[in-house]
Amino acid sequence: MKEMKPSRHLVGIVIGLAVFFGLEHETGNAKTVKDTKSLCLECHSKIAELTNRVTVHRPVRDGQCTVCHNPHASKRASLLADDDSNLCYNCHDRGGKGFTGTVVHKPVGEGKCLSCHDAHSSDRKGLLKKAEGDGCFSCHPKEGIIAKKNIHPEVKKGRCTVCHNPHSSDLNGLLIKDKKSLCAGCHPGAGEIFTKAHLGYKVSGTDCFGCHSPHSSDRKGLLKTTLHKPFGENQCTSCHSAGSTAVVKSGISLCTECHQTSLAGFNKINSHLIVGSNDNLCITCHNPHASDEKHLFKDKEDRVCYGCHSDTKEYTAGSNHKHSKLGICSGCHTAHGSNSQFFLTKGTDTCAMENCHSTQGKFTHPIGEKIIDPRSKMPMNCSTCHNPMGSPEDALLRFEKDTELCIQCHQI
């Protein structure tokens, strides 16, 4: 009896697999009685009308319905051949131009291309479902963008893509250029009116967003809502040398000369007195001129905090369950300094502040100084069981509530 060498087995297996997949492939391309275009349109006659629009998706135009749809069966709606998040990217390169930025438009990241685009045809360029502005405003409500008296003309026209990339960007806010050069494309910063408006200060090349709202404002010249007092009173020389953007004092003393009590707020057990990348640590978080945010924050509150707490941003973004006030960091944390762990405004009572969770501990699991966690031998508080920064579990629990949570302490 002749023994077969293992290599021969291998060859046999390879041939077998090749034959199997070859046949499979062949059956997958079983000849249809008609070409797919006419075959599908026999029943789906309305689709034929869609091909008369200005822009038609190429597979629709070419009658390649099976590029996206399975003609027999699918577990997905509309007999789609793949999940929403993958379907478009089977043809359109995820790594293609405009898609490689670090900041990704949410629907793009989730593969929800059909939020903005029509899969078959459209009367608009780029297969857009709605006119550019209307499409954007359907998710980004007008109230937050153009509700104010004076509206940036391009915003009014709904031409959002003049400044924003709808897919991705390396810049916050999906901007197409950095803030210092974005506005200069239309507002070159030369001329008498421009210079006069800025009281003779050479502001070209600076960040216009520091003082101006790019969308709308109740103030003339689209100035932001809250103005730093000397700025609002044209007292520029309080901080700047006359006619120059150079500041009269370096570092934090520029601010503490007026805001004398602010520095004392940092003299706590936990202090945010960390200089950061700016010479003046105050402008790490605050805008010295104008802001649409409270406390003259230089950006939306969560963006300011996440600027340094990038890992928290990533953690919360990846959590299935998020605290409802997650973006309002100052709702629970003190920004300058705190004698409580995690800079909490009221220590372990923070959760019960302002009637947020005032009933906790009264009729639920007891908490407080006398209730000791047997694992840590420390008093229990809300964060013993909940992680307010986000969790994969319901109610921001640290463990799965039916099988893991209680047995952490209550042994069966």
């Binding site: 570092g251 706590k268 057990i269 960390i274 409580s340 762990q341 031998k377 420390m378």
Partner: protein, 331 residues
């Protein structure tokens, strides 16, 4: 003829049997090899996970006599007196423990508001960072002196001097973080200026912790950048490693650092709930502990200190955990 056939069959049978035995031996060998590899793999993983090699020596949470800690922020083990001192910041006191970590006494003083970091020199004098007053306090218990620690000859920076964490070397020199001027000031025990240590790198945000080893090398942390800087005893930068990254065994939210006798650098990571150990080149060695509330687990480690016996002291919320490594050949 038939005997030839029989002997041929026998030979064939013998051959087959031999092959069968060899095959079984091979299977057995590969099984053994796989199991060994698997065991080795789990041993490495367990070690990296901190499951072996470290025992919890003590956990201090307080008792009826001393009360509970309230935001302890810094601690120091006095090798001369063999005592542990803790800056119990929220209670505005220093608490001392004996070499077996039994409570001894507490020290409070009107001149001390929020003690957050402390060191003690060989003469038994304390230098305490008081964050409430934004100054360093000098305490001599024998002479009953509590006063601000005066500095002389320190070159003025662009900003006012607001001290951060402090460290001490074997020559009793003090290393104080100058928070706003982004430097470390080295002074004699008298307060006389020796040198300043700073870096000019673009992505440097400022020092948040500092420790000194037996040779006078200085280890400093920039928590925002997630970087560790190592300087020699002259204050010249020797190396820098680390950046904040959201992956296992990378620095996510480093809070404090310590160095052992072998030059290994231990870093507490508050968001990872672990201690990560690196060599001087920044190569990750292993992790100690894991996130959690149980004994030996860490929920939010904020400060670390290592004594000469390589006991690792970690402030974890309102408790202090003391670990001892049990690894061979590393001590």
């Amino acid at each position: 003829m038939s005997s030839d056939i029989e002997s041929g069959d026998r030979m064939m049978r013998n051959k087959m049997e031999a092959r069968g035995k060899r095959a079984i031996a091979k299977i057995f060998f590969y099984c053994l090899l796989s199991v060994t590899c698997l065991l080795l793999f789990f041993a490495v993983v367990s070690f990296a996970e901190g499951k072996i090699g470290v025992k919890t020596v003590a956990i201090i949470t307080g008792d009826e006599i001393m009360g509970r800690f309230n935001q302890p922020s810094g601690l120091f083990f006095d090798e001369v007196k063999k005592r542990l001192y803790v800056a119990d910041s929220g209670n505005g006191r220093l608490v001392s423990f004996d070499s077996e970590f039994k409570y001894l006494a507490e020290l409070t003083d009107e001149g001390m508001k929020l003690p957050t970091t402390l060191v003690r020199n060989k003469e038994g004098q304390f230098f305490i960072l008081d964050s409430g007053k934004a100054e360093v306090i000098f305490i001599d218990l024998e002479k009953k002196i509590v006063k601000s620690f005066p500095l002389t000859g320190v070159p003025s920076g662009k900003e006012q001097f607001i001290p951060g964490r402090i460290a001490i070397d074997k020559g009793n020199r003090l290393y104080m973080i100058d928070k706003l001027n982004r430097r470390i000031i080295v002074v004699e025990p008298t307060g006389e200026f020796v040198r300043e240590i700073s870096v000019k790198e673009k992505d440097f945000f400022g020092f948040t912790d500092v420790k000194v080893d037996e040779s006078g090398n200085v280890y400093a942390m920039d928590a925002i950048a997630g970087s560790v800087y190592i300087f020699d005893d002259k204050g010249v930068i020797v190396s820098r490693f680390g950046k904040r990254e959201n992956r296992k065994y990378a620095l996510r939210f480093p809070t404090s650092l310590a160095v052992d006798k072998n030059g290994l650098i231990y870093i507490t990571d508050q968001h990872a709930g672990r201690i990560l150990v690196f060599d001087k080149k920044g190569v990750f060695q292993y992790a100690i502990s894991k996130p959690g509330a149980k004994e030996g687990e860490l929920s939010s480690p904020s400060y670390i200190f290592i004594d000469n016996e390589r006991r690792i002291y970690v402030i974890d919320g309102n408790r202090i955990q003391i670990f001892q490594e049990e690894k061979e050949g590393n001590g």
